[in-house]
C-alpha cells in the first residue's frame, strides 16, 4: 500500500511540476505577483511528494519487500542494514529517484530561502527548475519505475553488486548528485536571465552561493569516489580517466570556470554573456554525464543499468535542455549589455585566463571521451583514448594554471601590477624552489620530475597564504594590526585562500606519489617483505564467514627498521555468495599522512600472491579536496550572501542617497 502511495506521489509530483513550469513564467510575463508566487508553492509541494515517494521506496528496502522488482534485483534479506538503505540508490531506478529528490530539494530551497531575489528572476528560475523536474519525473515513470511489483514474489533477493556494498556508496553518489543537480540552479537562473533579457550583479550575487555549494559537493563527491576506487579496486590507483570519471570531471571543470567568472560579474559586471554560457554548459555536462553513464554508449564500471530505450529518452531530454538552452542563449544573449572595462593585466584578466584554461581542459576531456565513439560512427575505425592521452593533454593545461594561480590572486581589479605581484610572491617562489631543491637533494636517485611537482605544490600552497598575508600586512603595519586586518577580511577572501591552499596540498600529494613503492611477492605465513621503510610479516591467513560473504583474511604485522612494532593490517579476498562474485578488500594502515596498502592476489604454489605498496603522503590528495570544499562553504557564509543582507544594504544605500539629497 505504501508502495502504491509512493508511486502515486511521484505522479502527483509530476502534475505539480507541470504547473510549476507554466504558471510562474506566465506570471512573470504578465507581471502578476500571485501567479509568480505559485512557483514557490509548487516547488515546496513537489519536494514533499518526491520525498514521500523516496521514503516509501526506502521503507521497501529496509523491510526487504521482495514483491518489488527493484528490491529483489538489488537487495538481500541478510545484508547489513546500512547497505539495505544505500541499496536504494545503488541501482538505476533508485538513483534517478535520488536525482529528482535532490532537484526538488534545491527548488524548494530557492523557493524558501531567497525571498530577497527579484520576484521575476525567481519565478522564471523556478519555472525552469520545474521543467527539468517534469522531464526527469516522466523519465522515471515511463522507463524506470522503481515501484514495479513482481508476482509471485520470490523469497530472497539477488543482492546488491558486492563492489557497491561499501560505506562509499552511502556517501559518494549523494554528494555527487547534490553537486550535479546543484548546477541546475545556475542553469535555471541563466535561462531566467535570458528569458527576462536582463542580467546584472544582483544576478551574480544570487547565483554565486548556489554555484559554490554545488561545486563544493561535486569536489567532495569526486574526491570521495576517487578514495573509494583507491581502496576498493585493490591496485592503489586513484584516478583512471574512466569515461564516467570524465563525465563527473567535465561539469567540475566547467563549474570551476563558472565560479571564477561569476566573481568577475559580481564585482565588475563584466563577462556577462560568457558567464551565462558557462552556467548552461556546466549543467549540460551534468546531463551528458547522466547520459553517458546510463545509455550504454560507454562501458565502464559504473554502468549498472544500460538500456538503449532509456538512452533514447535521456537523449531526448538532453536535446531539449541543452539545445533549448543554447538556442535561447543564441537568441537572447545579444540583448545583454556588456559591463565594466578592464586592462589585460588585472584580476579580471587573470580570471579570463583561468576560464580559458579550464574551458580548454573541459573541452579536451570531452573530445577525448567522445572521439572514439564519433570516429567509429563515421569511419568504423576503433581506437582507444586512455590515460596516456589525458595525462599529457590535461597536464599540459594544468601546469600554466597552477603557476599563474598565485599571480592572479595578487593582481588588483581593473588594472594590475605585475612587478608588485611578483615582489609579493618572491618569498613564496623562493621557498618553493628551496623545497624542490631540498627534496631533490634528500631523495637523490629518485624520480627527477617529482621534486618540480613538489615545488609547484609548495608555490601554490604558500601563495594562498600570501593571499591573506599580503592583504593584512602593509608598510608600517605591526603584527597586532595585521592580525586584526586579516580577521577583518571578508569570508569570501578566506574561502578563496582555503580553496587555493587545498589545490596546492593536492598537488603535493600527487607529486609524492612518485615515491610510492610497490612489492610483488609470493608469501606464506612467517614470510617477510620490505614495504617502504617497513618490514611486513604475513602472520597467518584465516578463513572467515559473514552472513552474505566468505573471505580469506591475511593478517600482516608491520615493523620499523629499528625493529619496533608499527601495527597490523588485514587484507582479504571475499566471495559474495549470492552473486558468486569475488572482491579484493585492501588492507590499509595509515601512518600520519602516508599509507601502507596491501592487497591479496591468487593462491600460488608455495603461498599466496601479495602486493604491498608504500604510499608516502598519499592522503594529501584527498585532504586538499576537503580544503577546497571548506573554502567554498566558507565563502558561502560571506555576509553579502546571507539572507536579507542585500536588502539591508539597499535600504542603507537609499538612506545615504536621501541624506545626501
Amino acid at each position: 500500500m505504501l508502495i502504491e502511495a509512493g508511486h502515486y506521489a511521484l505522479v502527483l509530483a509530476l502534475a505539480v511540476c507541470i504547473v510549476q513550469t507554466i504558471v510562474p513564467i506566465w506570471g512573470a510575463r504578465r507581471d502578476d505577483a500571485a501567479l509568480m508566487e505559485m512557483g514557490a508553492a509548487c516547488a515546496v509541494a513537489s519536494f514533499v511528494c518526491v520525498a514521500f515517494s523516496f521514503v516509501a521506496l526506502s521503507h521497501a528496502y529496509l523491510v526487504s519487500d521482495f514483491s518489488i522488482r527493484n528490491v529483489v534485483e538489488n537487495s538481500h534479506s541478510q545484508k547489513p542494514l546500512i547497505y539495505k538503505l544505500t541499496g536504494v540508490w545503488g541501482n538505476h531506478e533508485g538513483s534517478m529517484l535520488l536525482w529528482v529528490l535532490v532537484l526538488t530539494i534545491f527548488a524548494a530551497l530557492v523557493a524558501l530561502l531567497r525571498r530577497s531575489l527579484p520576484a521575476r528572476l525567481r519565478a522564471n528560475a523556478l519555472g525552469v527548475q520545474g521543467a527539468i523536474a517534469v522531464a526527469f519525473l516522466l523519465f522515471i515513470l515511463v522507463t524506470s519505475n522503481p515501484f514495479a511489483r513482481l508476482s509471485p514474489a520470490p523469497f530472497e533477493g539477488r543482492d546488491l553488486n558486492p563492489i557497491l556494498q561499501d560505506p562509499g556508496l552511502a556517501i559518494h553518489p549523494p554528494l555527487l548528485y547534490v553537486g550535479y543537480v546543484g548546477l541546475s540552479i545556475a542553469f535555471a537562473f541563466a535561462l531566467a536571465a535570458l528569458i527576462e533579457g536582463r542580467i546584472d550583479a544582483v544576478w551574480a550575487r544570487a547565483v554565486r552561493p548556489w554555484t559554490l555549494a554545488a561545486w563544493a559537493f561535486l569536489t567532495l563527491g569526486i574526491s570521495m569516489g576517487s578514495y573509494w576506487a583507491y581502496y576498493e579496486l585493490g591496485w592503489g590507483g586513484f584516478w583512471f580517466w574512466d569515461p564516467v570519471e570524465n563525465a563527473s570531471l567535465m561539469p567540475w571543470l566547467a563549474a570551476t570556470a563558472l565560479l571564477h567568472s561569476v566573481v568577475v560579474m559580481e564585482r565588475r559586471e563584466a563577462l556577462k554573456v560568457w558567464t551565462i554560457f558557462l552556467a548552461i554548459l556546466a549543467f549540460s555536462l551534468s546531463l551528458v554525464g547522466t547520459f553517458l553513464v546510463r545509455s550504454g554508449v560507454l562501458t565502464s564500471v559504473h554502468a549498472f543499468a544500460t538500456d538503449p530505450g532509456r538512452g533514447a529518452f535521456i537523449l531526448g531530454i538532453l536535446t531539449i535542455f541543452i539545445g533549448g538552452g543554447l538556442a535561447l542563449f543564441a537568441w537572447r544573449a545579444p540583448v545583454l549589455r556588456q559591463g565594466g572595462l578592464f586592462a589585460p593585466i588585472s584580476r579580471e584578466g587573470a580570471l579570463v585566463v583561468n576560464n580559458l584554461l579550464f574551458s580548454t581542459a573541459c573541452g579536451t576531456v570531452l573530445v577525448g571521451t567522445l572521439y572514439p565513439l564519433a570516429l567509429e560512427a563515421l569511419t568504423g575505425a576503433k581506437i582507444s583514448v586512455g590515460p596516456p592521452f589525458f595525462n599529457l593533454t590535461v597536464g599540459a593545461i594544468a601546469l600554466p594554471l597552477l603557476l599563474l594561480l598565485p599571480f592572479g590572486q595578487q593582481l588588483a581589479w581593473k588594472r594590475g601590477d605585475v612587478a608588485g605581484a611578483s615582489q609579493r610572491l618572491m618569498a613564496a617562489f623562493g621557498l618553493a624552489i628551496l623545497a624542490a631543491l631540498a627534496v631533490f637533494a634528500f631523495t637523490r636517485g629518485g624520480p627527477v620530475l617529482a621534486p618540480i611537482g613538489v615545488g609547484i605544490g609548495a608555490f601554490v600552497t604558500i601563495g594562498s597564504v600570501v593571499e591573506i598575508s599580503s592583504r593584512a600586512f602593509g608598510r608600517g603595519v605591526g603584527w597586532r594590526l595585521a592580525m586584526r586586518r586579516a580577521f577583518g577580511l571578508p569570508r569570501a577572501a578566506w574561502g578563496t585562500a582555503s580553496a587555493h591552499f587545498g589545490v596546492g596540498i593536492t598537488v603535493l600529494g600527487l607529486a609524492a606519489a612518485a615515491w610510492s613503492t610497490e612489492t610483488l611477492v609470493v608469501m606464506k605465513p612467517g614470510d617477510r617483505a620490505q614495504v617502504g621503510p617497513y618490514t611486513a610479516t604475513l602472520e597467518r591467513v584465516v578463513p572467515r564467514s559473514q552472513a552474505n560473504y566468505r573471505e580469506d583474511v591475511g593478517l600482516l604485522r608491520l615493523t620499523r627498521a629499528d625493529g619496533t612494532d608499527a601495527g597490523t593490517l588485514e587484507a582479504s579476498k571475499r566471495l559474495y555468495l549470492t552473486r558468486n562474485m569475488p572482491t579484493t578488500e585492501a588492507g590499509i594502515r595509515t601512518m600520519g599522512l602516508s599509507q601502507v596498502y596491501v592487497s591479496l592476489g591468487e593462491a600460488e604454489p608455495g603461498g599466496i600472491g601479495v602486493r604491498l605498496y608504500y604510499k608516502p603522503f598519499v592522503l594529501l590528495i584527498w585532504i586538499g579536496s576537503v580544503f577546497m570544499a571548506i573554502g567554498a562553504f566558507w565563502a558561502m557564509t560571506d555576509r553579502k550572501y546571507r539572507v536579507g543582507a542585500p536588502v539591508r544594504a539597499a535600504v542603507r544605500a537609499a538612506e545615504v542617497r536621501e541624506a545626501q539629497a
Partner: protein, 165 residues
C-alpha cells in the same frame, strides 16, 4: 574495469614528454616478473599503454583477465628476444588493431583528437582577443555624449555647481 593513471603524471607529463615516472599499481603476477629490472621496467611501461581487450577500459597491466596475462607474457617474450618498444607495439597492433593502444597514435584520423587542446585554446584566445578589441573600440567611441545627455548635462550644470552625488 578501470585502468590506473595518476593526475600526478598529468603534472609531470606536462613538464616533459617523458614516460610516466610513477610505477603503476599492477595486476602482474609474481611469476611473470623478468629478472632484468631494466627490461621489467620497460615491460611495465609498455603494458600500461596496452588495453585489455576483454575488460572495460583497463590496461593489461591492471587486469586479472587471462587474456591480459597472455599479452603481458607476450610483451615480455618479445622484450627478451630483443625487440624495441616500437616493434612490440607494432606487433600487438598488427594482431589486435589500434583499439589496443591506450595512447592513440598521431595520424590523420586522430589529428583532431591530438590537436583538440591547441585548437580549443586558440579558439578561446581568438575570442578573448576579439572581445578585447571591440571593448577597446567601445571605450574610445563611447566618450562622445548624445545630444540628450549634453542637454541633461547642461541642465545639471546650469542649475548650480553642487556635487551631483
Amino acid at each position: 574495469m578501470i585502468a590506473p593513471a595518476r593526475l600526478l603524471c598529468a603534472v609531470f607529463m606536462a613538464l616533459s614528454a617523458m614516460a610516466p615516472v610513477v610505477t603503476p599499481a599492477l595486476a602482474v603476477q609474481p611469476d611473470e616478473v623478468l629478472r632484468d629490472p631494466a627490461l621489467e621496467a620497460r615491460a611495465r611501461d609498455l603494458s600500461a599503454e596496452l588495453r585489455c581487450l576483454v575488460c572495460q577500459n583497463q590496461s593489461i597491466d591492471d587486469s586479472d583477465a587471462p587474456l591480459a596475462r597472455d599479452l603481458r607474457l607476450l610483451v615480455r617474450e618479445r622484450l627478451q628476444a630483443g625487440d624495441s618498444d616500437a616493434a612490440i607495439r607494432d606487433f600487438v597492433v598488427a594482431r589486435y588493431g589500434e583499439f589496443v593502444l591506450l595512447r592513440p597514435p598521431f595520424a590523420a584520423h586522430t589529428l583532431l583528437l591530438w590537436l583538440a587542446p591547441a585548437l580549443l585554446g586558440a579558439a578561446g584566445l581568438f575570442g578573448v582577443w576579439r572581445l578585447a578589441r571591440s571593448r577597446g573600440r567601445d571605450a574610445t567611441e563611447a566618450v562622445a555624449l548624445t545630444p540628450d545627455e549634453q542637454a541633461a548635462l547642461a541642465a545639471a550644470t546650469g542649475t548650480g555647481d553642487r556635487d551631483p552625488a
